[in-house]
Point group: C2
Amino acid sequence: MKTLSIKDIALKANVSITTVSFIINGKAKEKAISDAVIKKVQKIIKESGYKPNQLARSLRTGNSNIIGLIVEDISNSFFSSIARLIEDKAYKKGYKIIYSSTENKIEKTKELISLFKNRKVDAYIISPIKGIEEDIQDLLNDNKPVILFDRNLPNINTSYVGANHFSASYQAVESFIKDGKQNIALVTTDIDVQQIVERFEGYKKSIIDHGLPYQDGLVLNIPFSQEEATTIKQIKELLQNRTIDAVLFATNYLAISGLKALKELEKKINESFSVIGYDDHEAFELHSPSISTIQQPLEEIAEAIIQLILAQLAAKTKLPEQQVVIPAKLIIRN
Amino acid sequence: MKTLSIKDIALKANVSITTVSFIINGKAKEKAISDAVIKKVQKIIKESGYKPNQLARSLRTGNSNIIGLIVEDISNSFFSSIARLIEDKAYKKGYKIIYSSTENKIEKTKELISLFKNRKVDAYIISPIKGIEEDIQDLLNDNKPVILFDRNLPNINTSYVGANHFSASYQAVESFIKDGKQNIALVTTDIDVQQIVERFEGYKKSIIDHGLPYQDGLVLNIPFSQEEATTIKQIKELLQNRTIDAVLFATNYLAISGLKALKELEKKINESFSVIGYDDHEAFELHSPSISTIQQPLEEIAEAIIQLILAQLAAKTKLPEQQVVIPAKLIIRN
DNA sequence: CTCAGTTAATAAAACGTTTTAGTTAAACCT
DNA sequence: AGGTTTAACTAAAACGTTTTATTAACTGAG
């Protein structure tokens, strides 16, 4: 069975294609189509189950009611949770989301942007990486709404939603110090994105502000695409070779690897050795003892993103860009 | 800057649109375009950065190089991991994936299928739910490849990839019994999909086969969309009101809730009380003690799915459907 | 020298919409 | 009665491709 087109409907209703189009798009009133015709056409549409071809529509109008979501890795629970929340909220406003993972690769990210552009995606939500500034600027020049989240790109003038990573890791370290910890390690990753840098800066500043010496050897930089086994090995080495009484992990997957390392070392978390993770994870709460963590308010972040996007989509003119910085919460668990 | 069209390229190269199109689509040789013209046009395309409009292309050809992936919930690690693997493999073959979550809702699933159909998605990978048989049959009648995974729909004749849930939960219960357990509970969910039913059947058969009495009261059915707090409460009640020395959880998120319940009850997992989860989760391995689980081989499942899809996409005729059942592995951890 | 075949290219239709610019007939003035 | 508005509807262009059918020029065989 061939799929129906607007032409078939027009034929059946004995009116022109134009008329049907006006009715479909709710312009019947303004275009002075009589009620009788409206009723008739709507009835035929309903009965036949006709659905306009979105491709043709997009081709003609240049927009698609689709929002593109580009994240680092959809299998990371932070991103998949955000994706799910955004999907939900967008869906209610009639927008669909399509998403894809960049794996922090510049080339793949560029291709994705190009793919989405090609598909006439209406707006972009991007967790960016350095090196795609130009591509994003192109989108903006093209008047497409772009919201950056999780990480910001300093040279791009567009709205951003993210957590206050500096202050969050500052507080985490502060809480270690208040607990009497002296040798606080940071396990972080080497990707060059603002949010990771901030986490490091917060750590460093907090240590110095509280009169402790900053020790380079207590900061472990894990390459992003490294095998987990290697990561675990490096963390074990750090813990064995250094006097350390507290560790802050800069991402949830690093914390997971860290917990595995501790397990292999049979090193217990207790009064004399503490751990704080980042981006909550089911495993943190369940762990014995429960793992304290810096929690980003996913719901709020998703909400802020979708608000900004919808506002920009609805607006005729370019809205002023906003930097929404949401405080991350330090969750102390015992 | 207006985006370029094939017309602009044709103009610049001083040839017809048709010629450019042939060259773009690699039909230059067969259409006897001279090498000189091919070179010239390709140079112009490269220099100008022209990218064909995929919408127009899809509108004309009826296909899109996009595969639609429809899952229950992208924020569940089982699905997001599979999605990520499929995305990777498809990407290498020049296909893009777009995915969306159904939340096990028939209406939303139907809408998604309709959305994808509208977008001329070339093939579908669906983790289905009862009630959408007709929509899937429509796709098949339309000659679109459809692969079901995770759950099968008995009345649909199409390929399926999934794990052997019956045998997996049979073995899990068997291992409990060999350990001397007598009162084995099952915490499962009420969604009416084959894979969940199989898990229950395997549990029941194993109990009976091994000469134990099947007790209805030891099976807890959790409504799918229920708040987690309620789920935890129900699991606590089950554990408090019954003599139970082992629990099999039918999904990973139920196991997580179960572990939380145990934590609240301060009930320890040890020789006299065992637990097995389903679909691995980071938290299982990290838990103290580590949680045994039934592990679905994600990599193999993803590989099988993508193989079937690509084979069907490449084939001119309809391939015979295949039911790929991959054994799930019982991982005993201590 | 002519006809058939080949080579190199193109014009135009088609995909399914939206939207601009009309057209026609009736209703409304003065 | 003649002109102007308005109501109701529509023809056709446009979006950017692919593809079918066609043309025009050349080649070589008989």
